[in-house]
Each structure stands twice: as C-alpha cells, then as structure tokens.
Symmetry: C2
Subunit: 349 residues, 2 copies
C-alpha cells in the first residue's frame, strides 16, 4: 500500500528528504538526465512512488517548446450550447493538429479565476476561455503570460483577443421577430437583476430597444429572472409568469434551454404555441430543430466562433505577428424561424 | 515570420542541427538542466522557436511521476449522452483532484486506435475509453502499458477494467414496458445489420427476448436500421418505417436521440403519442424530461458509471492492489416512465 497523498501537495524537497539525496539529484532523475548512479536513481524513483509525487512541468520548461494542447474552459458540458461549442472547438483544433484539454468552471467565479492561474496552464500552449462570472473587479486576473482568447462580450476592455457576437443586436432582432408577428406582450426569461454587463444584461437591453423603437412600454412584470440558464429554471420562471396572471402573448428565452423549459410548461398547461403564446430562444442548439413544436431561435454562428477562436489562438501561440493589438471579432447571427413562432407556415427542418 | 511547421514533425535532431549543438545539449536545455552556457542555451531556444519544436514529454519521464490528468475518449460531445457523461466524469475526477483531457473519436475506428497509442497518452496518468467501433480484431490494441478503464460491454474479454450496463436486460425491460401497456407491434430504431457485438446488437437481442417470452413473433419489417444514433437518423428511420405501411403501435429507440428524432416525425405527421404510437428511448438524457411529450426511457446510472470508472482508474494509477484481476462492474438501470408511453397518467417531472 502506497502512502501517496492525493493532489500535488508533495514537493520535490520531500522526495529528496525521503530518498536521502539533494533536490538537484531528484530534478536530474525527473528530467531523465543520464549520468546518475543506478542505485541513486532507484532510491529517488521509490521515494517518488511512495509519496505520489507529481511531475511539475514548470512553465519555464514548457515555454521552450509546445505541447500541442490548448485549454478550453467552459461553464458546463451538460448545457448543450457548451457541449456543441466544445465539439466545434475540438474539430477546429483537430484540423490544425491540436488537442483540447477541457475544464469546467460550473459558473463559479473562484473556479474561473483558478482556470487563469491554475497549474494546468503549464500543460497547454494557450487557452480559449468562456467566463460567465468574472466581473470588472477581476480585470487584473486577465493579464496572463500565455496566449489566450476570450469568448463573450469584451466587457472589461480585456487584454486578450475576443470572439463574441453582438448580443444587443441579436436580442433586438429576436424581439423584432415577435413584434413583426403582431405580439405585444413579450415576456423575457433569464434576466439577471442588477447585472449591467454580461449576456443577460445585453440581451435584455436589446429587448428593451426593440420595444422602445416600436413605441411600446417595457413592463417589469414581464421580465422573468432566472439565475442559471437551464431547462429547469426556464420551466420555473414560465410557471411563475403564468401564475402571476400577467398578460403574455410571447416569450423570449435568453437561451434555448430556458425557452425549452418554457415550452415544456406551456405544453403541460395545454397552452397553444404559437397560437396563444409564441416562443423564441437563443443559441440554435440541435435540439431546437427537433422539439415539438420546433423552436425559433437565434443562431450565433457556432462554427465561426470556434474556428475564429482557434485561429486567433494559434496565431498568438506561433507569434505570427508579434505585438499585434488585441482583436475583437464579432460573429454573424441569424434568426432561424420555426414552428414556435411561425406555426404551420414554418419551413420543414 | 516563424518558419514553424504545424504538428509535431520537428525532431530534436533538427533542432540540434539548426543550433549547431549535440542532441544531448538540446535535451539538457529542454529539461531545464542548469549548467549550460547562456550563449548555447540561447542558440537552442532560438532554434526551438524557429522550428516550432514541440516538447516530447516521453513516457519514460512521466512514468516516474504523475501529471494529475486522465484522458476521456468519447465518440462525440454533440451527442447529449456523451456530453452529460463527460460532465459526470469531470465532476467525479475533480472531486479526486484530477483534470480530464477529452478526446473525440467521431466513432471512427482509426481514431479509436489512435487514442490507444497516441502521443497524448504521455500526458495522462490513465485513460477512460468508450470505444464504439473497435471489434474483436482490435483486441491486441487494448493491451496497453498504462492504466485504462473501458466503458461498454466487455466484448473482447479485454485486458482492462470495464464499467458497463446490462444492455440485454435493460432492452428487455424497455420492451416489456411496452408489452405491459398492451403494445404488440413494436418497431425498433437504431439496429445495425450484421453486427453481433456492441450496444445495437445487444439491445436488439433484449428486444427479441422480450417478444419471444411473450410468445410474439419478431417481424423483420419492424426493425429499423440507423447507423449513427443521432436525432436526424432517428427521424429518417421513423419516416421510412411509417412510409413502408407496416403496422406499428410502439417504437423503441435504441438511444434517446433516435427516439427524439422519431417523436419529431410523429408530431409532424399528427400521429398521437402515445395514443396511436407509444415511444421509449434509452439513456435518460436531460432533454427527455422536457420534450413534448416527455420521453419514457432507460436510465443507465450515468453518475454511477462515471464515479465507478474514475475510482477504478485511480486505483490502477495508485497501484492500490497491484496485480488485481480486471474487474467488470455492471451498473444498475431503471425504466423512467413518462408521457410518451404513459400519457396523462405519467408522473410530473
């Protein structure tokens, strides 16, 4: 039975102490240096095995070459948008000879900060990072000494290349789609109260703009909060809005999972979609083309986001243009009209 | 502009030639050996940068310690089952201080073989592998010199720990669920003609057993082929079965994506589910609790699969019980009854 500790708490110093050799000798063994007496080498290897010492691939070493691995940090793979994005990034990376190390942050700020500073960075040539929780107070943490591309709005004027979509414009277009169909009481699902940056705030802003341009009031009773953007929270918020008795003829789910949760509740309550309430989502995950009814949504150009991010990162890794200013690439979006707003007239998938 | 080649084709020999030093000197620089003249070191580092040399973390070096990273190879993250499984594996690994390197094989045999022998293995302490395409002829490739846990049926008597579910039993129970509801013309979607091992063959076998035990004939016209187990192929197969004119009162999708594709077609053709045709899937992906109607399915114990696989792998990595015979762990399953078979009587989600 090994006395190994879990994690990376064991230091080279402890290995040296146990083996009765200098740290330099441990380093030589770990680095595969040839001129070490076999007996010494064996003692060090036994100490490493006993203690469960983890090789510390120091940044110093790896900066001299490349591992061919890039990191991708996303909130959760169980959210289809991020699973499909990861799929696209892996394919784009693969086509360029790169492997992808995926990390999940679970939308927790501390874990997002860990991603930036964590030991895993020593194993990767660069990072594609989709932060959800970092705020302006974390801008300093984004000053990193490795190539990084951020996905999402450039909300901190951050020191990195960004790939994003125009959330305000896209949300305005989604709302306009509902207005064009004659809807006037459009509920929102997924707002984050008090948030001023981030996707929720920007999408609500686009919604407000569309209503204001149409000369319609913004009714706070129609704006449904939902912290997490999951199917379950979408369903809960839809229930709450319906139970409040507010008049609703359309729903804008700020992502597809929220909209699909809302559809589920409308179906359960026998409310006709789109007859009584039209529904639009955001992301164009594959599921939206198969739900009943199929879901109208905003396609954010996932393939374009993935290939652009990988290409930007690779250019930084290879230092193709040293000192090039950080870029912000804004990808295209389009409204994909389906049954949940168009009903029978919707084109077949 | 760097002359870097993409990929890892650059050898240490080329770096040495360009820098005008010996291979041993390049090795010393890469490994961070201290006693190198600064001018020499600079020449080598310049050559590494110019050529885009990738550090080759040889298995020899890493076998002496651990990286804290495990590999997870799955067919596709865009299939929700594998995205949700990856999520569970990442959480289980994270709780044990491990990071997960995800690789996609795209269900291509050559890529599955690459996973086993690829250079990425040098970066990981072990591998959790869900092969779909490897057959008995590939059994030799499974004899690897690193810790590995296989997900899926132990179809080759393979030399590794296995975590699997009883596909035959689970498919028999799914079919029995439909028989208990009085269905007699049960179509299958997702069969693989000519296959004798693998999930498709085993699930069709369970279907046949249930019919035979009920004294019902197996009608080949009811067995729908679908190579890939996607929503799109499920929809196509459902269309084909309906167009064939064969009498159908239930559908067993061999995974949820296939069943959801079938539901989509039944909805489009205004066929009542479960009134006219009951539908059951397999996997219990989250989407099945939100589709309209909600989808009855087989829950394969995803969390149990993930935690068991990580624990088995960790035991091998830490050599807790050296020489322990390879285990096959069979996880529990259950039928989750929802609207697509039970209709109005289905319990709320």
């Amino acid at each position: 039975m090994s006395t190994a500790k879990r994690g990376s708490a064991v230091t080279m110093h402890e290995v040296a102490a146990r083996a009765g050799v200098s740290i330099k000798t441990v380093s030589n063994v770990v680095n595969g240096y040839q001129y070490i007496r076999p007996a010494t080498k064996e003692r060090v290897e036994a100490a490493i095995a006993d203690l469960g010492y983890q090789v510390n691939l120091s940044a110093r070493n790896l900066r001299r070459g490349r591992t061919g691995i890039i990191g991708l940090a996303v909130p959760e793979l169980s959210l289809p948008y991020f699973a499909e994005l990861a799929d696209s990034v892996i394919r784009a990376a693969d086509a360029r000879g790169l492997t992808v190390l995926i990390e999940q942050t679970g939308s927790v700020r501390e874990r997002e900060l860990d991603v930036l500073s964590g030991q895993r960075r020593h194993l990767t040539d660069g990072l594609i990072f989709s932060p959800l929780e970092l705020g302006p107070q974390d801008a300093e943490a984004l000053h990193v000494d490795y190539p990084m591309v951020l996905l999402g709005e450039r909300i901190f004027g951050g020191p990195a290349d960004h790939v994003t979509m125009n959330n305000v414009e896209a949300a305005r277009a989604a709302t306009q789609h509902l207005l064009d169909l004659g809807r006037r009481r459009i509920a929102v699902i997924g707002a984050h109260e008090g948030e001023t940056v981030g996707s929720a705030a920007l999408r609500v802003q686009g919604y407000r703009q569309a209503l204001e341009e149409a000369g319609l009031p913004v009714d706070p009773a129609l704006i449904g909060e939902a912290g997490l953007w999951h199917r379950a929270t979408g369903a809960e918020t839809m229930e709450r809005l319906l139970d409040s008795g507010v008049e609703i003829d359309a729903v804008f789910g700020l992502n597809d999972a929220l909209a699909l949760g809302a559809l589920h509740v409308l179906h359960a309550r026998r409310i006709d979609v789109p007859g009584q309430i039209a529904v639009i989502g955001f992301d164009d995950i594959e599921e939206t083309a198969y739900s009943s009814p199929t879901l109208t949504t905003v396609a954010p150009g996932r393939e374009q986001i993935a290939t652009t991010a990988v290409d930007l990162l690779l250019a930084r890794i290879e230092e193709l243009e040293p000192g090039k200013p950080f870029a912000q690439v804004i990808t295209d979006f389009e409204i994909v009209g389906r049954e949940s707003t168009l009903g029978e007239q919707a084109p077949a998938v």
